[in-house]
């Protein structure tokens, strides 16, 4: 008799837990589908006041495009200057500025292990077409042990894309109506 009661209580608790998680899952799917309707255009990497090799600038740009496509968060991922962006209805613009860059050496890393790391830090800003800031992320990308110097750009792009994926993009209904209700999300990664 007692064991039956315990089993019933466990079943009830299980049901309650399931009920609790279901709405959250449905909500998550809703927000994802809302975000999936946005398109994003990636602007050229701005070197800012930092002197960075063009190969690194180009590598960050290309890797970031790849990583943004991999997240499947956006309807389209467009390049800077792409004319199809003019016709895109819901477009976000991703601006990336290099904040710091420490060039490393693969040989120094291999010989000393503790020195020769390549370090990168960028500030990414996701804005609407009219310039409203939606998301701001500061990300790092480093190579400390194995791999060539350009691997830092891969790590960096992965961090930026992951931060965008785990953030809440504004709902399209909100952006169409009262813009003031749009949530301004600010995330800081890697600090």
């Amino acid at each position: 008799m007692k064991s039956n009661r315990l089993a019933l209580a466990a079943l009830a608790a299980g049901c309650l837990m399931l009920q609790g998680t279901l709405p959250a899952r449905v909500f998550a799917e809703d927000t994802r589908s809302a975000a999936a309707q946005w398109s994003v255009q990636l602007k050229k990497i701005d070197a800012g006041a930092v002197s960075i090799e063009p190969a690194f600038r180009v590598a960050i740009y290309e890797k970031l495009l790849d990583e943004l496509i991999k997240t499947k968060e956006f309807h389209e991922v467009l390049r800077d200057g792409d004319r199809t962006a003019e016709g895109a209805q819901h477009l976000l613009i991703l601006k990336t500025t290099v904040e710091s860059y420490t060039p490393g050496s693969e040989t120094r890393r291999a010989v000393t292990t503790v020195s020769g790391a390549t370090k990168l830090r960028v500030r990414s800003q996701l804005c609407t077409r009219d310039g409203q800031l939606v998301l701001e992320v500061v990300s790092n990308g480093n190579v400390r042990f194995f791999g060539d110097n350009l691997r830092a750009t891969h790590n960096l792009a992965h961090n930026v894309a992951s931060a965008i994926k785990h953030s809440t993009l504004p709902d399209l209904t909100a952006s169409r109506g009262n813009r003031k209700t749009t949530e301004l999300a600010r995330l800081q990664y890697g600090r």
Binding site: A59, K63, G81, D82, E99, T107, L150
Partner: protein, 189 residues
Amino acid sequence: MIQRIAPRKRIIRMLAGLTVVICCRTDLLAQNQSPADPPKANTRSRVTHILGFEGISNNAQGDLSVQGDVLRFQKTEAAAPAQIAVSSIQDVTIGAEDKQVGGVPMTLVKTAAPYGGGRVMSLFSHKKFDTVTLEYLDANGGFHGAIFQLSKGQGQVLGSELEAIGAHVSVLTTETSKQGTQEATNEVK
């Protein structure tokens, strides 16, 4: 008397002929050396495509050549080439990079070597390469960047070929990169 005049005329004619031939030859040489003309003989460079060239997988090896007004990358003779118009190239940067050779097998050997032998091996298992960074626009106006890795010295050759047909080429010198290093380490606040 007649016998003396005849050889003189012959010599004068020969000299005149020689002068004409030399003039033509100099003219031709000058035309060949003029920088405005594109080089007729296209050099093919064996390169590794690091990333960014449309339609080519990363780390693919192939031949990069300038043919007419296009820059062509071909993996094998049988494979379809990927190419872009030189007029679409916005900037070409030639740099240099020092890399460890041997890939994953070498890294494993170095890790397994006892008494720090791997570090000593790393001192000698590196090679210098040239890198060519292209910034270009596609047919839709979209900005692309591509990076190629070439044998040392090949980057300059490709750069001068591209410059001859109107591309903007800049060369990163060691001094510039050292200066860049100092500047870069100062963080922007």
